[in-house]
């Protein structure tokens, strides 16, 4: 691992020394984080370690046993398993498109709703609504209906004179229904942006207005920089959850057609619980962990160039 602790150095951004008189306290620090530490060692540490060990075995759930097989799982995954690479392909495509889309929608709508008008509470609820529909089987039926031949999407396209494709049936378009589903469920980053917008001190806008800044300038000079810690958080979390996407494919497409929506976590689940190959599944899961960790570390590294923290303002 090693990379992340290094990247997490941005937490302190090298300003420790100057502020060392303020807040350096090992005992108090561990006291505050002790709930997490206790829960971690009691409930998380063992399962995570076991899964790491299992990734070097051919552990089968039903047999409840497995032999140590060295790097065979990794060899099989990288060189022998065609479906593995299809799942990588689907997941990368999903992340590349859904993460920016979600963030842009979330920020745009948060700005739009961060106002006081009659009925804005109702609008906020409406925009959040798609995000709470959950993962029940009713959602699968509903989503298929919306993207069906005479469903809402193709009906709307028809009004615009466009003949819609067979969304869920074609290998080229099936993944787009899941990307659209993700973009449409931007409720959680939107709420976090709203909360972040509320934390921006009003006086900054007032003084900018006195200086004659127009709304675009106010957005670029105040809103955006003040929001960077939240943008940073949303970016990291959307990246992680994007790579781990599971439910949508699990209930709506089940990986079809032609494995174009076979997301990584779905494939892990199938190997683990349909084929009972928990050793192989663990190996896949750990490869993904490494990749996400590296990417996260990279984003953390970059954050010192673009994330602005009030609390770290030295001068």
């Amino acid at each position: 691992m090693g990379v992340l602790p290094m990247a997490a150095a941005t937490l302190t951004k090298g300003k420790r020394r100057r502020r060392s008189n303020f807040g350096q306290d090992n005992l108090v620090g561990y006291l505050f984080i002790s709930p997490w530490l206790i829960a971690f060692f009691l409930f998380t540490f063992i399962p995570i370690s076991v899964s790491l060990i299992l990734s070097f075995t051919d552990y089968n759930v039903l047999a409840n046993s497995g032999d140590f097989i060295g790097l065979d799982n990794f060899q099989r995954m990288f060189f022998e398993d065609r479906r593995y690479w299809r799942s990588v392909n689907a997941t990368v495509k999903y992340v590349v498109f859904s993460v920016p889309l979600r963030l842009v929608f979330a920020l745009a709508v948060a700005m739009l709703l961060n106002t006081y008008r009659r009925g804005v509470g109702v609008y906020r609820a409406a925009f959040y609504a798609p995000s709470i529909i959950g993962g029940s089987i009713a959602v699968a039926v509903m989503w298929r209906e919306i993207f069906g031949n005479d469903g809402l999407v193709n009906f709307t396209l028809n009004l615009l004179g466009i003949e819609g494709p067979n969304w869920l049936g074609r290998p080229e378009t099936a993944i787009w229904t899941l990307i659209i589903l993700a973009a449409w469920q931007f409720g959680s980053p939107m709420l976090i942006f709203l909360a972040g917008l509320k934390n921006i001190p009003k006086h900054l806008y007032e003084s900018a207005e006195i200086d004659g800044a127009n709304s675009l300038q106010r957005f670029l000079r105040i809103t955006l920089p003040m929001l960077t810690p939240i943008i940073f958080f949303n970016l990291i979390m959307q990246l992680i959850s994007g790579f781990m996407v599971f439910t949508q494919a699990f209930i709506v497409t089940q990986g079809r057609p032609l494995d174009t929506t076979l997301f990584y976590a779905l494939y892990v689940y199938r190997r683990a619980f349909e084929q009972n190959e928990m050793g192989y599944a663990s190996a896949m899961a750990w490869v993904m962990l490494m990749v996400i960790a590296l990417l996260t570390a990279f984003v953390f590294r970059s954050s010192s160039y673009w994330v602005h923290y009030e609390a770290d303002e030295g001068s």
Binding site: L62, R83, N166, L168, G169, Q254, L258, D259, F273, N276
Partner: protein, 429 residues
Amino acid sequence: MKRSKVLLVLLSIAVLVLPSLSLTAQDMTEVRISWWGSQNRHDRTIATIELYEELNPDIDIVYEFQGWRDHWTKLSTQAAGGELPDIMQHDYARIEEWVANGLLMPLDGYIESGAIDTMNISDSSLAGGMVDGQMYGINLGNNSEVFTLDTDAFAAAGIELPPLDWTWTQFEDIANAIQETLDIHGIGVLTSDQLWKSYYMGCCDQWAYAADGMSLGYEDDQPLVDYYNMLLRLQESGGMQSYEDSVARGDQGVEAQLIVTQEAAMAYHWSNQIVAVWTASGEDRNFVMYPIPRPEGGQSQNYIKPSMFFSVTSQAEQPDEAAAFIDWFVNSVEANEILAAERGVPISSVVRDALLPNLGAAQAEMFNYLGIIEMDNSPIRPADPAAHADVINNVFVPEFVEPVMYGMISPEEAASYLREEANRILGAQ
């Protein structure tokens, strides 16, 4: 502050609704049982269990139930943790894998001693639960594949109903004729792995898997290629729903079949699903059940398949009581009056006769159909090898059916890849 008020309200809700965290201890003998199903099955099974507890006051049947997929996730976790229930509902396609891992208990002793009474049960109804010559699951209902025909649609199209021993050639003509006259599909997709396996039985008296389960059981890919060439022709003509369309609609259960919405005049499914199909279609529709068409000059492709089993697990704490419950569940007329053949046609002839007078239209058709199949069926199949699910999920569907039906690869090429990969997986068991 407002926030503390909110917190207070939430806390009081939590206390009000606090459910008991522990369950009361019992002095009675506890038998744990777990099954999958839908609301209908849960209701009926629970009512049956309550009746059993009434009749046996010293027995407490502790039950768990869940949906199909969750059943396997939950039970394999319990298996790894040594926490399996005494009785679990099991599936034909998975039983061998569980037996191979020593998780189920052979029931032959109970059958010999009469604890599980098989007096009124035919051998063909029991054979599905045999693995390597021992009995691991008691069949809960007879089932067979069926082609359901919408007689109103046939009449509207002016097409005569075929003979019961119809062939795939006749079927293809009918499907195309329906498409031409009514402008609806003849049938939904026919790419199920069941049809792959039974086609070899119909044409060549071979089974998909070799007897030892270590390789495929057929030498010649040509019958499979012929069958898929027919599907490709039907897909092209519209006689069969396109594969693409079936993917777009997804596996939404029996109720979403094209015959229900009158987008097709025939449907392929399991015989016990006719009740669901008929209910979703409406009472005023008319259906008749047919065996699977047979290859030209071949034999019947149908066989009697156990819809599901009750198995006693090797981790069971009360195997004797578990066997006693299974015996009652299968043989008691009272129990089966509550269960109402929801799991398929009861295997005990006594129970069957007792249920006959009170059947609804769909169920009567199902009982009648199973009677026909029992007279003319192909030999009982060996249980699927332990790697069956692996072959289907990781080779048959993604590397054979899908690329062929999407026209990305020829049936010949795909069939030989299927052989190669399936043999590799089967041989490595």
